[in-house]
């Protein structure tokens, strides 16, 4: 039995903003676009074989989450320890945002994806569960554990992050 699937262009039109928002929060502005391309190209390859088309946004965010994990692994592999960190212009919104989102990116993958889905994408816990391929309860726990870690972190960043 074949599943009713909209033209792939409809997925691009309807969900590009959500996928980009998710990836900016997950990997930062500089690499979000590359991960966005990888996400949709993978999705396009797999689309004819997709069996459950009931929540295409969650499906795309699941793929985006995997691309974000690949990206973080790749960066960890490429990272070379240096004595002095060169000063770099930061391209994100404000300094406060940067610290906070850097802290989000440092969370374990599941917590990171959960926090990003909740706050960057404004998803309900049930849909976050679909994205993370876990239960609604587990999704809720991941969001709260992520927030707790961020709060613990924020006491060290206190001055800059939380005014």
């Amino acid at each position: 039995m074949s599943v009713h699937k909209p033209p792939f262009q409809a997925l691009i039109d309807d969900h590009s903003a959500d996928v980009l928002r998710f990836l900016r929060a997950s990997v930062g502005s500089n690499d979000a676009e590359d991960c966005y391309q990888e996400t949709f190209i993978s999705a396009l390859r797999a689309y004819p074989r997709l069996r459950d088309a009931s929540n295409l946004r969650a499906w795309l965010l699941t793929i985006a989450g995997r691309k974000a994990i690949d990206h973080h692994r790749g960066r960890a592999r490429r990272a070379v320890p240096v004595e002095h960190v060169p000063e770099q212009a930061v391209n994100d919104a404000g300094p406060r945002d940067d610290f906070l989102w850097e802290a989000v990116r440092a969370l374990p993958p599941k917590q990171r994806a959960a926090v990003v889905c909740r706050f960057a994408n404004d998803l309900a816990y049930a849909e976050i569960g679909t994205v993370l391929e876990c239960s609604e309860e587990a999704a809720r726990r991941n969001v709260f554990e992520g927030l707790r870690a961020l709060r613990a972190n924020s006491s060290t960043l206190d001055a800059e992050v939380i005014r």
């Binding site: 699937k5 033209p7 792939f8 262009q9 903003a17 190209i41 689309y47 004819p48 706050f119 939380i162």
Partner: protein
């Protein structure tokens, strides 16, 4: 909830993304999908004197032209179901089709030089449409003649149905097929369009 918790959450929420950035990323994606050979159906809109047409091509050729009466979204959904859901809006791949349609409507072209993908028609319908494709510009034929040419001399009514379901109107000129008695017959896009096309081709007096 403490003040500090609210602050973290509101800071997390305050991220805007502009429509232009999204559109630019989507355009690059369409080009890359095309370059990697992942687009089974490319489609575009073409503005013409008979209204907005949706035109779609597979790798084999032009597969669909539609000016209604079905809504545009329905046409695209049917293509996704009948051909492939790997569909991307890609005006570039339809440039040649658009140019030839422009030329036709401006009187600079009498014949289309396009490769067609006939996969949406089968059996008798397909044979009727292939015969229809051979009716020259400026001439007309009848449902009965098309039925006979397709191998079924008494199938005029079935030929009419086949032409009514023509997936590639204008290019496969079903507007050139009339009633044997001299009546204009029917047209999927409406009789006004049929008359317009016949006048454009000089097959009908204004």
């Amino acid at each position: 909830m403490t003040h500090e918790e609210m602050d973290i959450e509101s800071a997390l929420r305050s991220r805007a993304i502009s429509g232009d950035e999204v559109a630019a990323a989507a355009r690059r994606l369409a080009r890359r999908a095309e370059a990697e050979g992942l687009v089974d159906v490319a489609y575009s809109d073409v503005d013409t004197p008979v209204g907005n047409l949706v035109v779609a091509s597979t790798r084999r050729g032009l597969v669909r032209v539609s000016f209604g009466p079905e809504p545009r979204d329905r046409v695209l959904e049917e293509l996704a179901e009948d051909v492939s859901p790997r569909m991307i809006e890609s005006p570039g791949r339809l440039d040649d089709v658009r140019r030839q349609l422009d030329d036709y409507f401006e009187g600079r072209r009498n014949e289309f030089d396009l490769t067609l993908d006939w996969q949406l028609s089968r059996g008798f319908s397909r044979r009727v449409l292939e015969q229809t494709y051979r009716i020259p510009f400026g001439e007309v034929s009848t449902y009965r003649e098309m039925a006979a040419a397709a191998g079924s001399p008494r199938g005029a009514r079935a030929a009419g149905n086949a032409l009514g379901g023509n997936p590639i109107p204008i290019v496969v000129p079903c507007h050139r097929v009339l009633h044997s008695g001299g009546g204009i017959g029917g047209y999927g896009g409406g009789l006004d369009r049929k008359r317009f096309l016949l006048r454009l081709e000089g097959a009908m007096k204004s």
